[in-house]
Symmetry: C2
Subunit: 323 residues, 2 copies
């Protein structure tokens, strides 16, 4: 949680008018957003989110992110829709930061996801993948297998400060994935970070998806494997087979996996676990005690990775090879 | 800014229903509130603030604070109105904390107050004092002259770490105020912390007053002196006589000061400056580097105190003795 940058009323009120949103009624810095500063804005025309992009977002990526949100919104995906100002621009400057204003999505994220949530998110992920097919812009996944290697090199000598043997575990897994990582799987736009805190519900009904700032082009089934890791493990790190089966079936009700995707799924699940393990381990070792945002515990993904390493068949996730 | 305590959707949704506010649509921890954790809640019946009282608020004071808000709301003051749950209670428990839900007030606080804001706040303060007259509960001002002495004793040996000579300045001023502090001035309920961040405006129109957690019984003119300190000095610490005159005239348009209040005003202004100087100096020396809330700079109130020490007549604030 963090508000890195303050915004004055004298700056925001004319900006809201320039966006055609009427009069500024209130704005509150909200304690969400690891990467950016976000304000919840009430204006006479409606409720909006003002996002100030802090240094962790590359401005060169913003046309991809904002264009994608517009593209997906136009195709019926409930996600933040960037508002254009009178000049037709989606980006502006606020308090010295590049900034955007988006429609606010009502909804709360489920702190303890149940199977009903897993079903909804599986379906929404397939809808997102299908809706993104015609999006013309591309963004490479910086956190791909090569990216995990590069990140690990930055902390490998200190990895065992987190847990004894962690350096060996990551090195072993990277070497394994180097040998078996699949190529040529069906793909396109992926969210790449669809954790519970990025999926809103009103009651049990999914109301929206947020935080597309890791979105990129990659294998769709890898995105599904990220969701499986994020949604289908219990607080004690055990895999919940019911939730897994529910998530995968809901996804496949809209986009059935190919035989190649099913075969590769265990590898993708291992890769997805490793991706969050290496970023969390890196952040764990590089976050000041006084930081506004507390780092996530890498151990949750050590435990997931070890689970996937023991999986012998995709049927353990509830996946069957297509006939 | 701080969210000290997290609240789960599983806990909040039934609570919102129990308050008769309909379905929970969204809730966001907001980066405001030094003392408490606040969530901005959208429900199908409207917008609310959920406040979790953290350890700095004494639960024994809550009936005074919440009762006062209800009393003032009923008399036309725009302030948060506590909502009662189905059992008729204004207080509940959330995430292990005593908590309350209030109507949300639209408005933004002025980062750079102008005379138009000072006029509105002067009038609003007089309205508040008059509306509070019939409120039956009492609360002693813990931060009175005796309270400043007690607080200073806790850091006097380290005061000069903040600025050379600060210990002597505070000791001198306390001794002076011990001799001249007025007794028997008209009084009643005071806000005691009506800084710009506690006064909301929509455009130039005052829309509400918030944060009554220092409210207590004290001299009304002392509350006015707090406002003068908070609203009528420039960022370079110079006193803005136009703003001062505007604030005081607006207040007196509804409640003219008595001769005794005018005579005592310089003393009250010194006391008000000292009150924020001693709390800020204390917090400056007792806040961890990693704290979620950064302490205010005591120097802003050193400069104000030195200004008031040089004032020879209330006319320098724009006050004339009543005929």
């Amino acid at each position: 949680m963090a508000v890195y940058t303050e915004v004055t009323d004298d700056e925001l009120a004319p900006l809201i008018a320039d966006y055609g949103l009427g009069e500024l009624l209130s704005y509150k810095g909200i304690a969400e957003g690891v990467e950016n500063t976000n304000f919840l804005v009430h204006a006479s025309k409606g409720t909006y989110i003002l996002t100030l992009y802090e240094r962790r977002v590359d401005p060169a990526d913003l046309p991809f992110f904002l264009g994608l949100l517009q593209h997906l919104s136009e195709r019926g995906i409930s996600c933040p829709l960037p508002v254009r100002n009178r000049a037709g621009e989606m980006l502006t400057k606020v308090a010295g930061r590049t900034a955007a204003i988006m429609n606010f999505l009502e909804g709360v994220w489920p702190r303890r996801p149940r199977a009903v949530h897993c079903a909804a998110v599986g379906r929404a992920l397939a809808e997102l993948h299908l809706a993104g097919r015609a999006f013309p812009l591309k963004r490479r996944n910086a956190l791909d297998l090569a990216g995990w290697h590069a990140l690990f090199e930055r902390f490998s000598s200190r990895a065992d400060e987190i847990a004894p043997g962690l350096g060996n575990l990551i090195a072993y897994e990277l070497a394994h994935l180097d040998r078996v990582w699949p190529k040529g799987l069906p793909g396109g736009v992926v969210h790449a970070d669809l954790f519970p805190d990025n999926v809103f519900f009103i009651g049990d009904k999914l109301s929206g998806l947020i935080d597309f700032y890791f979105a990129c082009n990659d294998a769709w089934a890898y995105d599904l494997a990220i969701c499986l890791n994020a949604w289908c493990f219990e607080p004690d790190f055990s895999f919940n087979a019911t939730k897994g089966r529910t998530l995968l079936a809901a996804y496949q009700s809209l986009r059935p996996l190919t035989a190649a995707e099913v075969t590769a799924f265990t590898t993708l699940a291992r890769g997805a676990a490793l991706r969050f393990l290496v970023t969390r381990a890196h952040d764990w070792l590089h976050t000041d005690a006084g930081a506004l945002v507390k780092p996530h515990d890498p151990n949750a993904y050590v435990r997931r990775l070890r689970f996937h390493q023991e999986v012998e068949s995709p049927s353990e996730y509830g996946l069957e090879r297509p006939q």
